[in-house]
């Protein structure tokens, strides 16, 4: 467990493209085109993984053993024979969990930082009412 955590931590922080690809695969196996479309829709068109960059990242994710090619195929009616499917490995899942936790901590830190200014606003409003 500890070794896994140590292994996972060395990949953090994740590159943005890697994060998006792994986040898509967290929902299940997917092929390249599917990953691209999923990321596009999830980010409302803000992040587009271009083909060469996508497969370059997939290649490196496989070398890092964070994802692997899946030998299981979906149902024939959903399958596209031209495509190759990928899925997260156990290590990949740990790394993704670690990255998500890191991002959540960041968000918490931002919220804490912004909180006093919101409190100040409340105080000022109270003062105005009193006056």
């Amino acid at each position: 467990m500890v070794m896994n955590e140590a292994n996972a931590e060395r990949f953090l922080p994740l590159k943005p493209q890697w994060f998006h690809i792994m986040l898509t695969l967290a929902g299940g196996e997917q092929h390249g085109y599917g990953i691209m479309q999923d990321v596009l829709s999830r980010t409302a068109g803000k992040v587009r993984l271009w083909p060469a960059t996508l497969y370059g990242s997939i290649k490196r994710l496989i070398e890092a053993e964070l994802i692997e090619e899946s030998d299981e195929r979906p149902a024939p009616e959903l399958d596209d024979a031209r495509r190759r499917y990928y899925r997260l490995t156990a290590l990949g899942r740990d790394v993704l969990d670690g990255e998500c936790e890191r991002l959540q901590e960041l968000v918490r830190a931002i919220q804490v930082n912004q909180a006093p200014s919101k409190q100040d606003q409340h105080v000022n409003q109270d003062d105005m009412v009193t006056e």
Binding site: G32, W50, P51, A52, T53, Y55, G56, I58, K59, R83
Partner: protein
């Protein structure tokens, strides 16, 4: 859009083979899927973005594969440390030596003066001229945008105002015309440079200092500009600092100060006798900046015509009726002005030298890689069989060669750095310190690593091509025991081996010629123990003495030294003994024999020596006599106006008629006497130069400078003129003493008792002086010797490697022969025959190449002629070097060949 799609597909095919195999189809498919969508949503911008994405990704993937190749190569080399070490050392030696030659010689000769913006347009005549001529040249505005004059190697005794020590320091600089810096195009890093408008005669002296002077002597003080110094006892103000690395024109001499030649003669004794206005005083180097569009040839022709006219106008000029060219212009934008016709020769020489060294190192690397590649034949065959591309395998094999070469580059750079430190410690036997800061800069680093990369790529390609050019099926069947073509065919391996042997022998012979030749001609023979002679120099005039006071001092000094305990004999001279003078300083002497049908002219070097000089050196005269004290009292130069106040230096502003005697007595060395008078007795003969007639009163043997050059030397007597205007190295006192006595301290005390404020410098024994001045020779012979040994070692290593590989390849064949009854001796002979043939052919070619190269080098420069002519006549070297190389080569073949005789035939035949 179709066009854009075609580009996309082409780029997709350009990916590295492995990436294409794994993801090529997906990338193309995905591109096709999104193409229309991107075109619709984002238009042409989107398509450009799509193509840019794949175009950027292609080289990234190649780089990623190269990184992988390098990691693989590094792992492979770690497993073969011996192989790696030999390859790195041989490449390191080659790159180190080459980088050293580049940074110390090539850059020295060919790089433009740093800080001088006009360097590409600068020219100078090959001979000094008078200032009058400089001013005439300056009028030629259609030819030159500026003409400056300068004198280099000028000593100044500098005292710092408010310094902790009142003792002056001897600093060397240049006397320059005020427009010097504008002609060069130099901007100061602080303050201002000299200018004709601001620095005129009679103004308070302003000087410019070098960056080195500012850093070393003023501790980079921010208040340096405006600081006051005393130069030769006179006040001067620093007005500016030159840029870093700028060392002035003709910057072989160390230059720390730039003093305008408008200062008084009290500050710069060189300007005495109204030097600037004397038409025949050829004491200045002229520096000209060509106008845009003016070529050096047209400027030379025009200047020649002008010089001819000026010479003709002067009825007293002895050269006014001379035929032939009067002026030769040299490009002056580099540290050493080189005649144009010599440039390609020098360029070719250094290129050839560096090329030879690198070729040896690289052919050795290539040979080792070929042998290593042959051992991996089976592995390569398997990889080819399962679909690896040949190009991919070649890249992987080249990665090893490139890595070895780059590691060799690191080792080479370290070696070059060490050699540059050694180079900077050379003290050549000249009076003025030379600028010998040859530290490596970023250019040398770029050169070293660029060379390593090019050699790595170039010399690992052929072995990689050879190793991967394999028939898969036979390789899989027979594996690494596949027999390669033997020595009868012109295989790559054999060609490389022969060229390596030939190159090594050439290097060995040439360096042997130089080492033996230099050693032989450069020995300095003294007839006494050099530890019993001491040299020290003083320069009273630059310590603030008037010429009369200086004269009085030198008249008093002999009496003091005569009574000093351990001093057996002493003499004064204008330079240290056994010094090498620049051939460019030679004056033209003519034999004064009006009855002769044609006059004999010879260049001779002048040296000034006092009475008893040769006796002090234990040199008996070959004919005639040496100088006596009466010769020393001859009036020569203009009379100085005596100063009432002894502390005020003399201002020599009035030109009085020169009181020269009709004839000056001179002593000649035997070479000068022979060249001027042949076998005739030189005593009583007369010679003359432009200004003076001489009578030969004595002939002495050649006192060798130790640099391998025999010069014609004429010795002039030291006179009051020399005391009034000492040369750049001051007046040298030679003192012979009893062995083991500290005569130096005694002499120092005697001088101090006359005047404790006189600066004594260059005080050392003759032995120390000879040692340090021979340091250049020592370094040269050590370097050449090292290069020769390097070639020998490389050849041996290469031969051993190739033979070992050949034995490994022929295991089966040898096993069959042994099984059929061949003896060990027969097997050994079979293996050695191949190596022996390569050594034989290489030796013959190397010998012929060495003799041809020696002839070529002799034609280039005097320095090589004498050393090489001695060396190439040395029978022991001519026979010994090839034999040595052959012996080493055969030994290198024999050791691995012995293993062939120990092959167990049963085991070898069972191997598959």
């Amino acid at each position: 859009m179709n066009f854009a799609w075609r580009i996309y597909r082409r780029l997709a095919e350009a990916f590295p083979h492995e990436f294409k195999l794994a993801y090529g189809t997906e990338v193309t498919q995905l591109g096709q899927d999104v193409f229309q969508d991107i075109a619709r949503r984002h238009g042409i911008t989107g398509l450009i973005r799509l193509i840019a994405d794949i175009a950027i990704r292609v080289p990234i993937e190649y780089l990623a594969e190269m990184r992988g190749d390098m990691r693989y190569a590094l792992r492979a080399l770690i497993k073969s440390p011996g192989f790696a070490l030999v390859a790195i050392i041989s490449m390191g030696l080659g790159i180190g030596l080459t980088t050293n030659v580049y940074s110390s010689k090539w850059a020295f000769l060919f790089r433009y003066l740093p800080g001088a913006a006009n360097a590409p347009n600068l020219v100078m005549p090959d001979k000094p001229v008078s200032y009058y001529y400089v001013e005439q040249f300056r009028e030629q505005k259609s030819l030159f945008s500026g003409v400056a004059a300068f004198q280099s190697g000028i000593p100044f005794n500098v005292t710092f105002q408010g310094g902790t020590s009142s003792k002056p320091e001897r600093v060397y600089g240049q006397l320059v015309s005020p427009d010097y810096f504008s002609v060069l195009g130099v901007q100061p890093q602080r303050g201002r440079v000299l200018s004709a408008a601001l620095d005129r005669a009679g103004d308070s002296p302003a000087i410019v200092i070098s960056d080195r002077f500012w850093r070393n002597r003023l501790n980079s003080s921010p208040d340096a500009v405006g600081q006051i110094l005393r130069l030769n006892g006179q006040i001067a103000t620093i007005v500016g600092i030159t840029p870093k690395d700028f060392n002035g024109a003709l910057s072989i001499y160390s230059t720390e100060l730039y003093v305008p030649n408008t200062v008084s003669a009290a500050l710069a004794p060189e300007l005495g006798d109204d030097l600037l206005h004397r038409r025949n005083a050829k004491e200045f180097m002229a520096l000209m900046c060509l106008e845009p569009g003016v070529t050096i040839d047209s400027a030379e022709a025009a200047l020649d015509a002008i010089t001819r006219r000026l010479d003709a106008e002067d009825s007293s000029s002895p050269t006014r009726t001379d035929k032939g060219k009067r002026v030769t212009l040299l490009p002056a934008g580099t540290r050493v002005p080189i005649p144009r016709q010599l440039r390609p020769v020098l360029f070719g020489f250094f290129f050839a030298l560096m090329g030879l060294v690198m070729t040896l190192a690289c052919t050795n690397l290539a040979n080792m890689l070929i042998a290593r590649g042959a051992n991996r034949r089976k592995e390569l065959a398997i990889r080819l069989a399962v679909g690896a591309s040949r190009f991919r395998l070649i890249r992987q094999m080249m990665a090893e060669g490139i890595l070895l070469s780059m590691l060799g580059g690191v080792a080479g750079f370290v070696l070059a750095y060490g050699l540059s430190i050694l180079n900077s410690r050379i003290v050549p036997p000249t009076g003025v310190p030379l600028e010998n800061d040859f530290s490596l800069d970023w250019r040398a680093a770029v050169f070293a690593f660029g060379l390593a990369l090019i050699c790595g790529i170039g010399f690992s390609l052929a072995p990689a091509l050879q190793a991967t050019k394999t028939d898969v099926i036979p390789a899989l069947k027979e594996g690494s025991t596949l027999r390669l073509p033997g020595y009868r065919r012109f295989g790559l391996r054999n060609l490389l081996m022969v060229s390596q042997v030939a190159g090594s022998l050439m290097l060995l012979l040439i360096t042997g010629f130089l080492v033996i030749g230099i050693r032989k001609v450069s020995s300095t023979e003294t007839k006494f123990d050099p530890n019993t002679m001491y040299l020290l120099s003083i320069d009273p005039v630059r310590d603030g003495y008037s010429p009369e006071k200086a004269q009085t001092f030198f008249e008093k000094l002999p009496d003091r030294l005569q009574t000093a305990g351990p001093v057996r004999s002493f003499a004064l001279a204008g330079q240290a003994p056994f010094v090498l003078k620049d051939e460019d300083d030679a004056i033209q002497l003519t034999v004064d024999d009006s009855g002769a049908p044609s006059r004999i002219e010879q260049p001779v070097i002048e040296e000034t020596v006092g009475s008893g000089y040769f006796d002090t050196l234990s040199e008996s005269m070959l004919a005639g006599r040496e100088f006596e004290e009466s010769d020393q009292r001859i009036q020569t130069a203009s009379q100085a106006v005596a100063s009432k106040n002894a502390s005020l230096p003399v201002v020599s502003s009035v030109v009085t008629p020169v009181a020269t005697p009709a004839v000056l007595p001179v002593v000649m060395n035997e070479t000068a006497a022979r060249r001027l008078f042949g076998n005739e007795n030189a005593i009583g003969k007369h010679v003359r130069d432009d200004n003076q007639s001489y009578e030969v009163v004595g002939v002495v043997r050649d006192l060798k400078s130790g640099m391998g050059i025999i010069q014609s030397v004429m010795y002039l007597p030291l006179t009051s003129r020399d005391f009034a205007r000492p040369p750049a190295g001051g007046i040298t006192i030679l003192v012979r003493s009893d062995a083991g006595s500290d005569a130096l301290s005694v002499v120092r005390n005697e001088i101090a008792s006359i005047d404790p404020n006189l600066t004594i410098f260059n005080a050392q024994s003759l032995s120390d002086y000879l040692n340090s001045s021979r340091s250049a020779i020592r370094l040269a012979t050590q370097t050449y010797g090292g290069i020769g040994v390097f070639g020998l070692v490389l050849a041996a290593v290469g031969l051993a490697g190739v033979t070992a590989y050949a034995v490994a390849q022929r295991r089966k064949e040898i096993a069959i022969r042994t099984a059929l009854g061949a003896t060990r001796a027969q097997v050994l002979r079979l293996v050695l025959r191949e190596g022996g043939a390569l050594v034989g052919v290489g030796t013959v070619l190397g010998f012929l190449g060495a003799m041809a190269l020696a002839k070529m080098l002799s034609a280039l420069t005097n320095i090589f002629v004498q050393a090489l002519s001695v060396g190439t006549n040395n029978a022991r070297l001519l026979v010994g070097a090839p034999l040595l190389l052959a012996a080493v080569g055969l030994l290198a073949c024999y050791i691995p060949a012995r293993r062939s005789a120990q092959i167990d035939p049963l085991r070898a035949l069972r191997e598959e």
